[in-house]
C-alpha cells in the first residue's frame, strides 16, 4: 500500500517536514520514489504568486525544446531556481535527470487583458504541448505549469532523493503552506515519473492509495471529457480528473465529489430530501464511481485540503492537528513524528461516508455524505 500525506499550515514550512512525515511510515522494500506538490509558495517564490511556474525534469536537449516552445508562445522567463544538488555523495539510490527546472514566466503580452479563464486555458495548452514535445523525444518530464505551484517527482529511495536534493535540512527559501507527498510509486505499471502521485491539473491536486478497481470504467469515460485528462499512467489519476470535472467543469460544490465517487446506496438515497438530485448524479456519472479500496487526499485551487475514502473504508487514513498545522496521512506514526505534542484526542479517523475538509484558517469540517 502506498503511504500518502499532506501538511497544511498557517506558516510556511520546508519539504523536510514531509520527509519526516513519510519516512516513519516507510515499509521494507517499497522505496521506489518520492514526489511532492507545494502550493501557496513562500520564500524565493513568494513574489511571483500570480505567475506561472514551470516544474520540469529534463535533459539539456529537452530544456532547449521546452524553452523554444515557451518563447514561441510568448512566455518570457522572469525567475529561475535550481535545487542545490548533492552530486558528491556516492551510493545514493536515485535515477536522476540531468536538469531540474523551476522557472517563473511572464504571460505573453497578448494576454495582458486576458481573463483568468483564458490564462488558465493557455497554461494547460502550453503544458500539454511541452509534454508532447518532450515525450516524442524522450527528453524529460513536465510536472506542472501553474501559478503558485511547484512539483517534483523522482525515482529512488526517498531518503536518498532527499539527500540528493538537499531536502533534509530546512531553510526559509524553499517553503510553502501546503505540501502533498507520496513515498512510493504505483507498482501496477512501469515505474515512470508521471505515474507517481500527487497528480495535478489546473490548481487541483490529488493523491491516493490503493487499487482503483473501476480504473477502466473511469478512464474510458474521462478520456473524452477534457483535453487535460491524459496519461492514465496510474489508475489514481482518475480520482484527480473526477475532482476536476465535478468541481471545475460542472461547477458543482466540493461535497458532490463524494456523491459522484461513492454514491449512497439506493435504499438510503431514496429516503433523502435531495434524492432527485442524487439519483441523477448516480445515473449520469456512474462511470466515475470508484469501488475501492482507496483513500483520496485532495487540494482545490482555493487551498482547501480534504480527505475521503471508498465506500467501505478499505484503506486507512488519519487527520492530526495542532493550532498551526493540520496533517493528513495514511498512518498515525507519521503524524507522531511531525506533531508529537498535539492532543491525540483531536485526531480524526474519517469514516467511509465523510469528507474531512480543512479550510485556509485550518478550520476542520467533517461533511457527512
Amino acid at each position: 500500500m502506498c503511504r500518502i500525506g499532506a501538511i497544511k499550515s498557517n506558516e510556511y514550512f520546508h519539504p523536510s517536514k514531509t520527509l519526516e512525515l513519510m519516512r516513519s511510515q516507510q515499509k521494507g522494500h517499497d522505496n521506489s520514489g518520492f514526489a511532492f506538490v507545494m502550493q501557496d509558495l513562500g520564500g524565493i517564490f513568494e513574489p511571483y504568486k500570480d505567475l506561472p511556474l514551470l516544474s520540469m525534469a529534463c535533459t539539456d536537449k529537452g530544456m532547449r525544446t521546452a524553452e523554444d516552445i515557451l518563447h514561441s508562445i510568448g512566455f518570457t522567463r522572469l525567475y529561475q531556481w535550481t535545487p542545490d544538488i548533492n552530486k558528491t555523495k556516492e551510493g545514493l539510490q536515485i535515477s536522476p535527470m540531468p536538469n531540474y527546472v523551476f522557472e517563473v514566466f511572464n504571460y505573453p503580452k497578448l494576454y495582458k487583458y486576458a481573463t483568468k479563464e483564458e490564462k488558465e486555458e493557455l497554461l494547460v495548452d502550453t503544458r500539454l504541448k511541452l509534454r508532447k514535445a518532450l515525450e516524442e523525444e524522450d527528453e524529460g518530464y513536465i510536472y506542472s505549469f501553474w501559478h503558485d505551484v511547484l512539483m517534483l517527482k523522482e525515482i529512488g529511495n526517498p531518503k536518498d532523493i532527499g539527500t540528493y536534493f538537499g531536502l533534509h535540512t530546512p531553510n526559509k527559501d524553499f517553503v510553502s503552506k501546503i505540501i502533498t507527498v507520496q513515498c512510493r510509486q504505483n507498482t501496477n505499471y512501469d515505474i515512470v515519473r508521471y505515474a507517481a502521485h500527487p497528480f495535478f491539473l489546473q490548481g487541483y491536486t490529488v493523491l491516493a492509495n490503493g487499487e482503483n478497481t473501476f480504473y477502466e470504467k473511469n478512464k474510458n469515460f474521462q478520456k473524452n471529457l477534457h483535453k487535460g485528462y491524459i496519461g492514465f499512467e496510474s489508475d489514481s489519476q482518475c480520482f484527480l480528473y473526477t475532482l476536476h470535472y465535478v468541481n471545475k467543469i460542472l461547477k458543482w460544490p466540493l461535497k458532490y465529489y463524494k456523491h459522484v465517487i461513492t454514491p449512497l446506496e439506493y435504499e438510503e438515497m431514496i429516503t433523502r430530501e435531495d434524492k432527485e438530485v442524487l439519483l441523477r448524479i448516480k445515473a449520469s456519472l456512474s462511470h466515475l464511481e470508484i469501488n475501492g479500496p482507496n483513500t483520496i487526499i485532495g487540494v482545490t485551487p482555493d487551498g482547501t485540503l480534504f480527505v475521503t475514502c471508498d465506500s467501505k473504508k478499505l484503506r486507512p487514513v488519519v487527520v492530526g492537528r495542532d493550532n498551526k498545522t493540520v496533517v493528513i496521512t495514511s498512518e498515525v506514526t507519521g503524524i507522531n513524528e511531525v506533531l508529537p505534542k498535539r492532543n491525540t484526542e483531536t485526531d480524526i479517523y474519517p469514516n467511509e461516508r465523510e469528507m474531512v475538509v480543512v479550510d485556509n484558517n485550518l478550520g476542520i469540517q467533517r461533511w457527512q455524505q
Partner: protein, 547 residues
C-alpha cells in the same frame, strides 16, 4: 415385389423414434394419455411363434396378438421427443430416441410444401458459446482485498430510462450550496440487472404468465429484489393493469399492437405507472420476422385479451409507418413518453445485427432525451413460434455485438446514456448469473432472459431438438398452450416458487462473482476483469488473452 413408395415418410425418417419394450409394458395406457401430440397409439401386432410343449420336440405354430404402443407416423405431426411418455411410465417401457440419421428436413418440405415451424432456440450448434470461453480472471489478490459475498453489502441495480449527460443535467447551486433540479427531465429508474421477458399471453398459457407475475411480485415485495418482467406483445390482463403490481411490468408494443386497445382504455384506471414501455422492433431468434401466433393457440381468452378473431396472428416484420430510426424516435418514443407524461421510461428492442451499432449510435443522438433503453437480442434467443429456417439460419451472436455497441458509445463519450440490455441464449446452460456478469463486464447494464424461465417452470425441451413444440399449442407441460385441459398440467404455485428460488440463487451467484474482483456495485464495462484462452475472442472483444 410390388413398388415401394420411398417418398413416403416412415418411422426411420423421423427425428424421434419411439422405443417400446412390450415385455415391460403394464398396458396402463398412461403414455398414450400423456402424449399431447398423438404421436403414439395403443395397437396390437400379430406375432407367430413356434413352440413345443411336449417332452419330445413337437413344434407348433401359434398366432399371438401382442398389445404394443406404436409410433404414429404422419406427414406433419410426429413425436417431438418431449419424453412425457417416459415420464409417466412406471416400468421404463417406453422412451423417445433421437434419430441422428433423420431425413425430415427433406421429407417434411417435400410432403407438405411448407416450411417447418417450431418454438425454442436454434438447434444448430455450429460454434461453441463465446461466454463459456470467458472467465473472470482479475481476482483481487493483495493489490486490493476481495470482498465477502456473504458479509459485505452489494448493490445490484441497473438504470432503466434515459440517462442525461452530466453537463446537460439541469442543476444549479442554491444559496445554501446545494444542487437543485430546475427542470423536469425524463425518468431514470433503478431496477435489477436481469429482466424477465418478453413472452406474451398467447405464447404462454395464462397460468404460466400468472406464475411469472406472481414470482416477480414476490421477489419484489418479499425479497426486495427489484426485478421486472416484460409483457411481450399480447396485452395485459385488465385486473393487472388496474392493480398496483403494474409497477413491476414493462409493457411491450410491437408491430401488431395486440392488446393495446384494452391497455389504452384502462389507462385512466391505473393506480400506478408501469415499470416501462418496450417498443419491439425485432427478436433475436427470428430476426426480420414478425410475431407468429398460430390460430391453434388463439383461444377465446386470447381473442378477448388481444382484441382479435381466431386466426393466425402475424405481427408484421416492421412497424407500419416507420421508415427510419429518427422517425421512430419522433413518432413512437415521443407518443409513448407523452402517453405517460414522461414518467415512464420508453425503451426499444431490436434483434442483434451487423447494423446494431449504427442504430445505437443514432439513438444516442436522440435530441429529446427520450430513448430509455436499448435491448439487443442475439441469435441464441428463444421464440414461441418461428419458421425453422429463420430460427436456425438467421441472426447474430450477442456477445460481440453488445461489446461493439458499448465501445461505440465509449468512443463518443456517451456510455451509459442509453442503458444497454442484452439477451440471446443467456442462461442457456442454466447459469444465468455467470452469463449476466460477463455481459455486464463487457458493457451491458443488464440482461434479459425468457427461455430459461420456461425451463425453470418445467419445460421439457432442450436446445438439441427435444420438444420445441411451443408453436403447436400442445405443450405437454402446460406452459405454451391455450388448451384448458393442458394448461392445468402446470402447477402455478410450484412454477412461481421455482422462479423465485432460481433468482434467489442467481442473486447470491452474482455477489459471488462481484466479491472476488472487489466490487460492491456492478462492474459495467469492466472488461479488465475478464480473460479468455481463445485468442480470437480476446482480440475481438478486447479482453486479455491468457493461456
Amino acid at each position: 415385389m410390388a413398388a415401394v413408395d420411398t417418398t413416403k415418410i416412415d418411422k426411420q425418417d423421423l427425428v424421434w423414434q419411439i422405443e417400446h419394450k412390450s415385455e415391460n409394458c403394464a398396458l396402463c395406457g398412461k403414455c398414450v394419455a400423456a402424449c399431447t401430440f398423438g404421436a403414439i397409439k395403443a395397437d396390437v401386432i400379430r406375432k407367430r411363434e413356434i413352440i413345443s410343449t411336449d417332452l419330445t420336440p413337437n413344434p407348433k405354430s401359434v398366432e399371438k396378438a401382442i398389445p404394443v404402443i406404436k409410433q404414429v407416423v404422419t406427414k406433419s405431426k410426429n413425436c417431438v421427443g418431449c419424453g412425457m411418455c417416459a415420464k409417466v411410465c412406471e416400468n421404463g417401457a417406453i422412451k423417445p430416441v433421437y434419430n441422428e440419421r433423420h431425413r425430415m428436413n427433406v421429407k417434411y418440405r417435400a410432403n407438405n410444401a411448407e416450411s417447418p415451424k417450431r418454438g425454442g432456440r436454434t438447434n444448430l450448434h455450429t460454434e461453441g458459446r463465446t461466454l463459456d470461453k470467458i472467465k473472470v480472471g482479475r481476482i483481487s489478490q493483495m493489490t486490493d482485498p476481495s470482498l465477502d459475498a456473504m458479509r459485505h453489502t452489494f448493490e445490484l441495480l441497473a438504470p432503466f430510462g434515459r440517462v442525461m449527460p452530466p453537463e446537460n443535467l439541469p442543476l444549479e447551486v442554491d444559496s445554501t450550496g446545494n444542487l437543485q433540479l430546475n427542470k423536469k427531465i425524463p425518468t431514470t429508474r433503478w431496477i435489477y440487472p436481469i429482466i424477465i421477458g418478453d413472452m406474451s399471453i398467447g405464447a404462454l398459457s395464462p397460468r404460466l404468465w400468472e406464475a411469472v407475475s406472481i414470482a416477480v411480485a414476490y421477489l419484489n415485495e418479499v425479497y426486495h429484489i427489484p426485478i421486472r418482467m416484460c409483457s411481450g406483445e399480447g396485452g395485459v390482463p385488465e385486473k393487472l393493469i388496474r392493480s398496483k403490481y403494474i409497477k413491476y411490468l414493462i409493457i411491450q408494443i410491437a408491430s401488431g399492437h395486440f392488446g393495446w386497445n384494452r391497455i389504452i382504455n384502462s389507462m385512466p384506471y391505473m393506480v400506478d405507472d408501469p415499470a416501462g414501455i418496450m417498443i419491439k422492433i425485432g427478436q433475436g431468434a427470428k430476426p426480420g420476422d414478425g410475431g407468429l401466433l398460430l390460430s391453434k393457440k388463439v383461444a377465446p381468452h386470447i381473442q378477448e385479451i388481444r382484441g382479435v378473431p381466431k386466426s393466425d396472428l402475424l405481427s408484421p416484420p416492421n412497424h407500419q409507418g416507420l421508415y427510419s430510426i429518427e422517425e421512430s424516435v419522433q413518432k413512437m418514443f415521443l407518443s409513448m413518453n407523452a402517453a405517460f407524461k414522461f414518467r415512464v421510461p420508453v425503451s426499444i428492442k431490436v434483434a442483434a445485427s451487423t447494423t446494431s451499432v449504427s442504430v445505437y449510435n443514432n439513438l444516442l443522438r436522440d435530441p429529446y432525451d427520450i430513448v430509455g433503453g436499448f435491448f439487443l437480442d442475439g441469435i441464441a434467443g428463444g421464440t414461441g413460434a418461428a419458421h425453422e429456417i429463420s430460427l436456425d439460419h438467421t441472426g447474430h451472436p450477442i456477445v460481440s455485438r453488445l461489446r461493439d455497441c458499448y465501445l461505440a458509445a465509449v468512443h463518443q463519450g456517451k456510455q451509459g446514456q442509453i442503458p444497454l440490455w442484452a439477451a440471446g441464449g443467456l442462461g442457456m446452460k442454466g447459469t444465468l448469473a455467470a452469463d449476466a456478469f460477463k455481459m455486464i463486464c463487457l458493457g451491458a447494464n443488464g440482461v434479459f432472459t425468457g427461455r430459461l424461465i420456461l425451463q425453470i417452470a418445467g419445460c421439457l425441451g432442450d436446445d438439441y431438438g427435444r420438444c420445441n413444440a411451443c408453436n403447436t399449442g400442445l405443450c405437454p407441460a402446460g406452459l405454451t398452450t391455450q388448451n384448458p385441459i393442458l394448461m392445468k398440467r402446470l402447477d402455478i404455485d410450484k412454477a412461481a416458487q421455482n422462479i423465485v428460488n432460481y433468482f434467489l440463487a442467481t442473486d447470491i451467484e452474482l455477489k459471488k462473482l462481484m466479491a472476488p474482483i472487489g466490487n460492491s456495485s456492478l462492474p459495467v464495462g469492466r472488461s479488465d476483469a475478464l480473460v479468455t484462452v481463445d485468442k480470437n475472442v480476446a482480440e475481438r472483444l478486447g479482453i486479455q488473452h491468457v493461456c
